[in-house]
């Protein structure tokens, strides 16, 4: 009996650890809560890589942020879009938690009509192509990498 209790406690502790710990599973898209325009904690519990973030930012199949946003720091890329505002100095306008919320689900920040897609959302789509149904555009770690990169834009 005592042993079993112990096991349960250990198990609970392990659970607790896995929520906050470094080896945690990422927070599922459906569980991310945007509160007052912010997502305060990392989606993966791990810091993002700004170097990788820059890659996702320009990659046409991932962030493709450049499709809509100019980024004067990305001079190696030829085409910068004009649909959204330039992201020059964006880290001076928004803090990390706000930027995470914008990338996770811009519709919650700017309104349903915003042209900016939600990058970490898996539900609520109409007629998604089958191979993308139930999936988010970016993974949690890719979001974190992009957040890390955005913070270098000041």
């Amino acid at each position: 009996m005592e042993r079993m209790l112990c096991a349960v406690v250990a198990c609970l502790m392990a659970l607790g650890l896995s929520i906050n710990g470094a080896s945690a599973d990422p927070v599922a898209a459906a569980d991310v809560k945007i509160i007052d325009g912010e997502v305060k904690t990392s989606l993966t519990g791990q810091p993002g890589s700004a170097v990788k973030g820059a890659e996702w930012f320009k990659n046409r199949k991932l962030g493709n942020c450049l499709a809509c946003h100019a980024n004067p720091k990305m001079t190696d890329e030829q085409f910068h879009g004009e649909v959204g505002p330039s992201l020059e100095g964006v880290a001076d306008r928004w803090n990390e938690a706000q930027m995470r919320a914008i990338v996770v689900n811009a519709k919650e920040i700017f309104g349903e009509q915003s042209m900016m897609p939600a990058f970490y959302r898996t539900t609520g789509y109409t007629r998604p192509l089958k191979k993308f149904a139930g999936k988010s555009i970016l993974s949690a770690q890719q979001v974190e990498d992009i957040i890390a990169y955005l913070q270098t834009l000041k």
Binding site: E82, R127, L129
Partner: protein, 290 residues
């Protein structure tokens, strides 16, 4: 097929030719449509006109005004227009006997330059027998099946594209003039609903790109108002002619949405609605785009 966000064109073009990329970046500087005039054989086409009071577009612009000058130039002279190969094929098909009735289009419609004049400008058009509006492709196939006892052509086949390009060429320079009242009203509304509905993993509507953002660059693509006055048109990316429905399908796939069926009621309704947004633009069939 890999589906990039919004477009796979850009990536391919850039990869294909550094020169092309350079040319495109030069035009990227000009936001908005350009003011060039489309004059073919001494005839000036309407590519720009004031939109109707209360309508979604203050000024209506043809897609031609958003293309760079190299692409524009290909439409200025029919000899440079790759779509004219199809117009010639269409002309041959017009008088080619086919089907069990032993007839050609010409058997009943005689000289297309008279009988088909202005037809394309009014499509899609209400068809009493079908009890719904039909796109030009459907009318052609209806004639083939009932009047010629011939097999219908596939929507995107070379024969169909050639025939619709040929018929369309007899409306060149005439204003788009689709009916939207009477029994068309319901279909127009259906098309409008589709136009404004946000769809796909990217959660966008036609209007998001072609109404709110025309004139803006979306990465390497210069967004137009998405009119269909030039269809079927030659697109360098396709290396051939394509129908309006093919374009709708491509735009939907780029936003990772499941397209409606080519030739289905939804796309015909959408075609009607999109045509109505460009009411008054000159028919440019076969136009040239990149």
């Amino acid at each position: 097929m890999a589906t990039g966000l919004f477009s796979s064109t850009a990536a391919k073009l850039v990869a294909a030719a550094g020169l092309a990329a350079l040319a495109a970046s030069a035009t990227a500087v000009l936001a908005g449509p350009n003011d060039n005039k489309l004059v073919v054989d001494g005839k000036e086409y309407v590519t720009k006109l004031p939109g109707p009071e209360g309508g979604p577009l203050k000024t209506i612009y043809s897609g031609w005004n958003f293309r760079n000058e190299a692409t524009q130039a290909m439409q200025l002279d029919d000899f440079d227009n790759p779509g004219f190969v199809n117009v010639e094929t269409g002309e041959q098909l017009w008088s080619a006997v086919d089907g069990e009735a032993g007839k050609s289009c010409a058997s009943c419609h005689n000289d297309a330059s008279e009988s088909m004049k202005g037809v394309r400008a009014q499509m899609p058009k209400w068809n009493e027998k079908a009890g719904k509006p039909l796109a030009l492709e459907q009318v052609v196939n209806a004639c083939r099946e009932t009047n010629m006892k011939a097999k219908p052509w596939k929507w995107e086949s070379n024969e169909m594209l050639s025939m619709t390009a040929f018929i369309g060429s007899h409306s060149r320079g005439m204003p788009v003039n689709v009916k939207t009242d009477g029994p068309m009203k319901e279909w127009w509304q259906k098309g409008k609903d589709i136009y404004y509905k946000q769809v796909g993993q990217l959660d966008m509507s036609c209007a998001g790109c072609h109404e709110q953002n025309f004139g803006n660059m979306i990465r390497a693509d210069h967004l137009s108002q998405g009119h269909i006055n030039g269809f079927p048109l030659y697109r360098s990316k396709w290396q051939k002619l394509g129908s309006a429905h093919r374009r709708f399908k491509g735009c939907m796939k780029n936003i990772r949405a499941t397209p409606y069926k080519v030739g289905g009621d939804e796309f015909v309704a959408l075609e009607l609605y999109v045509a109505s947004r460009g009411q008054g633009l000159s028919v440019e069939t076969p136009a040239v785009r990149n």
